[in-house]
Amino acid sequence: MNFNHFKKNLKKDFSAFQKVRVAVLGDSATQLLVTALRGYGYEQKIDFQLFEADYDQVERQIFDTNSEMYHFEPEYVLICQTTEHLSKKFYYTTHSERAVFWQNHLQTLGEMCQTISQKNKKTKIFYLNFYELNDGIFGNFANKVNYSFLYQVRKINTGLMELGQELRNLFIIDLASLLTQYGHKNSFDSKFYINADMVWGLEFLPMLAKRISDTVQSISGKIKKALILDLDNTVWGGIVGDDGWEGIQIGNLGMGKAFTNLQIWAKELKKRGIILCVCSKNDEKIAKEAFEKNPDMVLKLEDIAVFVANWDNKADNIRQIQEILNIGMDSLVFLDDNPFERNMVRENLPEVCVPELPEDPAEYVSFLQELNLFETASVSDNDEIRTKQYQEESVRLSEKKHFANEEEFLANLQMEAKIQPISKFNVPRVAQLTQRSNQFNLRTVRYTEQDIEQIAKSENFASFTVSLKDKFGEYGLISMVILEKKQGFIFIDTWIMSCRVLKRGVEALLLNEMVKFAQNDGLQTIIGEYLPTAKNGLVKDHYQNLGFSSKDKIWELDCGTYQLQKHFIKHG
């Protein structure tokens, strides 16, 4: 991560990249941050279109609703207020104001967010939290004095987390934890602060730019969904084929601890919805034995969604894993201690993220934590059971082989669906579907939870969500449509389905519901649109297959002549 390297990117061609409009407002010099952000964006294939406000204009740009910032029409507003300036403001307050300094600060921020939202509900606000400076006035005792600067700045940082939960369009960029990792001494140069009011050093700016860009990426749906693990010397020390399940290094002794720590970290990722897979050059039986028999293994077989252990090349094996999971190559992370395997996978599957693991396993976890690979813009209760769903899927796939035809198989699944409108219970999952789904997604409009709440409340919109289960287990909420009521017809704003339920008949079920809904509203026409992306070729013929007729790049269905589609899903 070198500033000069990113700066040189500025002269390159961004024209093929996705454009993202960001307004940067700072209380200190932000020119070089803007340079770093645009330069880093090139590496991520983002064309950051940046508006930089004049120096120290945060409040004016936001509260003046006719300001240059609003004319710029940003998708994101990045507010950089710094500890260096915050402390000065603090020192100017009177003693009685100091204990409530944090509340006043957050109240102003809340008002800023509200003003921005009133102007445009879709604008997301990025706010940097604060470097937790002990200014040396009270020493350690500052922790016991509620009117010390340290006390107040920490109250602001925790308050920001609460405000972030309240305001869905506010995202906190965690500068404080980045500085804890990197060290304030390495990020700050007094010379440039005094001369140019620059609070972040050149070496640090690319890291901050990465954090900002990571969050933009996650909001636009570019996230990592699965972690594929090598076994020998990655998940445990030693070679299980040589050392046996009882001889591998794992547990609390010696080197074993380093591998245990990696397993604990991977298991936490699994709990939050990242799919774990194994891809190892091993005999499958011997490899699985370690999971089943070694009591020190933190990862168990049930944590692994797809287990591939054989002697084939790893690129082919990863391709196979990707097919089973049915998610994009670019959402996979592959960990392997062996540089040869890493390069092989990088060369054959350039979209897969392959971190350059340090040689010393003791450094694995801290190295991976610093990379911030698994940034996300939402979490939902569905995340935790995802692995189980993929395992159920592989059972279903093997079951399918026993049936002579598709219809018999589908009837045998005993599928049951629950069709519901969007409600406060499913807002997080619905928003997440709009952010994560790339393949079965007709228009790829990304919505935040806040957007979804607005849609649920609006009279102009209707929505159906589908939760599905069958005899093997629950799929959870796997499909949804958002319908916009227009003059004389219904427009399908969003139609998304999880690829785990492809070819189960959910599309037919939903279309039947939509037609009933339209007719109840006295409308005879449903209009759909397909907006192609690099990833949604799967649904290119979706409307044609369902009997819509093509008309100037849109698809039209006449409800009057519509015949209900056949499917095998029971629903209430």
């Binding site: 000069n4 002269k11 007094s190 010379k191 140019a196 050149l202 070496e203």
Partner: protein, 78 residues
């Protein structure tokens, strides 16, 4: 001193991303379009890193030309 000037030339060309810069001791920031106050900061960082030294705040704003920069570096190195 000549060695210092040679190194400085390389650093200027690298940081300002211009292979054709002509750098002489009497060159000032007025002579080079890319050499603005932000580029100056990047130059100082690169020079500090290359020569493994740390300037004082007063110094970095006081140099009237490239020659003065070399002079300051020369003093630090000896």
């Amino acid at each position: 001193m000549d060695k210092i000037l040679e190194d400085i030339k390389t650093i200027f060309r690298e940081v300002l991303d211009n292979e054709n810069l002509s750098i002489k001791p009497e060159t000032t920031s007025d002579d080079i379009e890319e050499w603005d106050s932000l580029a100056h900061i990047q130059l100082v960082v690169a020079i500090e890193k290359h020569f493994k030294l740390k300037f004082k705040t007063e110094e970095i704003m006081a140099w009237e030309n490239v020659g003065a920069m070399c002079e300051a570096i020369h003093l630090y190195l000896n």
